[in-house]
């Protein structure tokens, strides 16, 4: 009886989540990797069981940056929530804002003006470019060290990202937490001359991307460190709910910009880059291709940007101006790390607050791959794999 129960339990345990299948006599070292480790991209912790340098088991621990954002959103009115979600994925606040406000717009059945949709497309693509630049910098930092070649590429990437942040600052008055999207449109229209500056910034970035590709994708050491490391197959990626560049690097041709168009993507053609290897190198090449695609899309948007209002009604409102009686909705859009989703159930304590608001954070799903891809890799690979998953702890822990 007891034996049967035990074997049933043994069958139920996922081997990657247990070290019991490993030789019990082996002398494993338990290494707490994080939360105060320089390469965990914030405050993330992994418990690594090491056999020499080879990882036998890896357990991710989340929650060190939990701020209760979703609960906070139940207490704030719909209008007040935008600046709060800016801080979730702090590397792509624009897209966070869009995912939130699009959910409210869908609940209200509000039509967003065409110019606002094109403007949002421009902001989303610039943000994706900035986010991928930061990823490239931090990834090479993981591979090459803070006191070496990695930091050179890191600072160069930051220099280019700065160009985009300058544009956002000129548009919204703020470099990071923009609060530029509102329910029904945008708060800030492009000031005179900004379109030309966007062109200049895009040209500068496009000219330097090749150089960065030579220093990373084209470099023998980079290839040696990333090829065949952290291979994630498409079935597992789909099962774990992984989206975005990581899923596309595993060979699944899925991109919400093309498959479920929003903003102005139905009027533009989006070329989706995919790779089949599913390793760190494939993830890096997909992101490189996406940077080029974002530059192309930004240029296309600037060319076709229509005239007209940028908000359905007057943009700045009182906190209580938006009232939603009931209903529930989910909206997911393609962020730099995958599908950023907002699930809202309207009808909280007052008509101006939601009953429940759930944010789908793509990084969190990416981290779920860790127990599966880490075993068998070395400690050095662990850093490369974590870097290639590109987690932003702000949105993972919320």
């Amino acid at each position: 009886m007891t034996e049967g129960l035990q074997s049933a339990r043994r069958g139920a345990i996922d081997p990657h989540l247990s070290i019991r299948h490993y030789d019990a006599d082996a002398d494993l070292m338990l290494l707490h990797f994080g939360p105060q480790h320089p390469s965990t991209h914030g405050v993330f912790r992994m418990d690594l069981y090491l056999d020499g340098e080879v990882i036998v088991k890896a357990t991710p621990f989340l929650g060190y940056l939990h701020r209760g954002v979703e609960k906070l959103c139940e207490k704030l009115t719909y209008v007040q929530q935008t600046p709060v979600v800016d801080k979730n994925d702090y590397v792509s606040p624009m897209i966070n804002e869009q995912a939130l406000n699009m959910a409210f717009e869908k609940l209200l059945k509000l039509e967003v003006p065409r110019r606002a949709r094109w403007l949002r497309t421009l902001l989303a693509e610039l943000q994706r470019l900035a986010s991928h630049l930061l990823w490239l910098g931090t990834f090479t930092l993981d591979l090459g060290g803070a006191l070496g070649g990695g930091s050179t590429l890191f600072l160069h990437c930051f220099r280019e990202r700065e160009l985009i942040l300058d544009l956002f600052e000129e548009l919204t008055g703020s470099r990071f937490h923009y609060n530029t999207h509102t329910i029904g449109g945008n708060r800030h229209d492009l000031p005179a001359g900004l379109a030309a500056k966007v062109e200049v910034a895009l040209a500068a970035i496009a000219a330097r991307l090749g150089e960065y590709e030579d220093l990373s994708l084209g470099h023998a050491i980079f290839q040696a460190r990333t090829k065949g490391v952290g291979t994630l197959d498409s079935d597992l990626a789909l099962e774990l709910g992984i989206t975005g560049p990581i899923l596309r690097a595993s060979g699944v041709d899925h991109d919400l910009r093309r498959d479920a168009p929003y903003h102005a993507y139905d009027e533009l053609t989006v070329n989706v880059a995919t790779e089949h290897a599913g390793d760190c190198f494939a993830r890096a090449s997909v992101r490189f291709a996406e940077m080029r695609e974002s530059i192309r899309l930004c240029r296309a948007v600037l060319e076709g940007l229509p005239e007209g209002p940028i908000a359905a009604s007057k943009a700045v409102r009182l906190p209580t101006a938006v009232k939603i009686a009931s209903g529930q909705v989910y909206v997911g859009i393609e962020g730099p790390r995958g599908e950023i989703g907002t699930f809202v159930i309207a009808g909280g304590d007052t008509p101006t607050t939601p009953y429940r608001l759930k944010i789908r954070a793509p990084s969190m799903h990416a981290l779920a791959a860790i127990p599966y891809v880490m075993p068998g890799a070395t400690l050095s690979d662990a850093v490369a794999i974590l870097g290639s998953l590109d987690p932003i702890m702000g949105e993972v822990d919320r």
């Binding site: 070292m29 090459g144 060290g145 070496g148 070649g149 930091s151 050179t152 220099r159 400690l379």
Partner: protein
């Protein structure tokens, strides 16, 4: 007795000038790295930030000296001292000019290799004594790396020894000034041997792309994770001294030492050493880091066979080319 006095005099001179060069070298590296990364580097302390290394040292000396719980106290304190001692040791036999050499041993090359190989002891001692898992992993990697890279290093250093027929470093330099620099002629064992020496030197002094014992993105700070204050300064200094002395050895063995056009002398040796030192920085601030197993692959599957071949080529050159020696 006079030999001892001579040695002591030159030891003081060489050590103090090396330390001065390192202070400038740290400033230069930070400026150099700054320019590579489109920033300015130090600008605040002193004119063009020249006093920055001094400020760094003063800052580090003020830090609390922390010894981890259950650390092996004696070993923990001894390791940084030994690191500086061993890294400085090789400088004793390097001739900076025909006269400026502390101890012109007739087995000078052997001495350099032996004392270089000793560096693994303080490194591993630091990793072991710290009672820290990251430091232990770093120490483990350091042993594997230093022991492996000592093999190609010994082999390529044999090339100038065979070509010149002497193990005395000053005689190797004299031979080069009478014939050609070994990095230039005979080009076939010479230049590849010099390249291999440079790679092995990077690995021996734990520089990127071979800095896996400290690998700060994986091991926090590797062997120096638990070191603070003055002891950290010693490790930091030992690393620079090791690189600088390695550059000087390379300049003497392959680039003709003090020999040069116009007026041979100390200035040529200093110039060549600093050029090699700069090349180390250049590599450091450009390349990414290898993984430890790839490092072993590179060493045993590529460098060692090539180095063996080069030794045979050098022997053949001496044997069959008339007037080679």
């Amino acid at each position: 007795m006079s030999g001892l006095v001579h040695g002591a005099q030159y030891a003081v001179m060489i050590v103090s000038s090396l330390l001065a060069v390192i202070a400038i070298g740290i400033w230069f590296e930070r400026k150099f790295a700054g320019r590579m990364q489109s920033r300015l580097g130090p600008t605040i302390v002193g004119p063009v930030g020249l006093l920055q290394p001094l400020a760094d040292v003063v800052k580090l000396l003020q830090k609390e000296d922390i010894v981890p719980k259950d650390a092996d106290r004696a070993l923990f304190d001894l390791a940084p001292l030994l690191a500086v001692l061993f890294s400085l040791g090789a400088a004793a036999v390097v001739p900076f000019s025909p006269t400026a050499v502390a101890a012109d041993l007739d087995i000078g090359v052997l001495f350099i290799l032996a004392i270089g190989a000793l560096m693994v002891i303080p490194t591993f001692a630091a990793g072991w004594a710290s009672n820290n898992k990251f430091a232990l992993l770093g120490g483990m990697r350091a042993v594997a790396q230093s022991v492996s890279y000592a093999v190609p290093l010994v082999l390529v250093v044999m090339v100038p020894v065979i070509l010149s027929g002497s193990m005395r470093v000053s005689e190797i330099v004299t031979f080069q000034s009478e014939h050609h620099w070994f990095a230039v002629w005979p080009i076939i064992p010479g230049l590849p041997a010099f390249a291999l020496f440079f790679i092995a030197m990077l690995a021996e002094s734990n520089r990127i792309p071979f800095d896996i014992p400290e690998a700060e993105s994986e091991l926090v700070a590797g062997i120096t994770t638990e070191y603070t204050g003055a002891k950290f300064v010693l490790f930091y200094m030992a690393e620079y001294v090791h690189t600088l002395v390695g550059s000087a050895v390379g300049a003497a063995l392959f680039l003709g030492g003090w020999d040069g056009p116009f007026k041979p002398g100390l200035h040529w040796m200093v110039l060549k050493t600093l050029l090699l030192f700069t090349a180390v920085y250049w590599v450091r601030w450009t390349l990414l880091r290898f993984r430890s197993d790839q490092l072993m692959d590179l060493c045993w599957k590529r460098l060692v066979p090539i180095a063996v071949g080069l030794v045979f080529l050098a022997a053949a050159w001496v044997q069959f080319v008339p007037g080679a020696r």
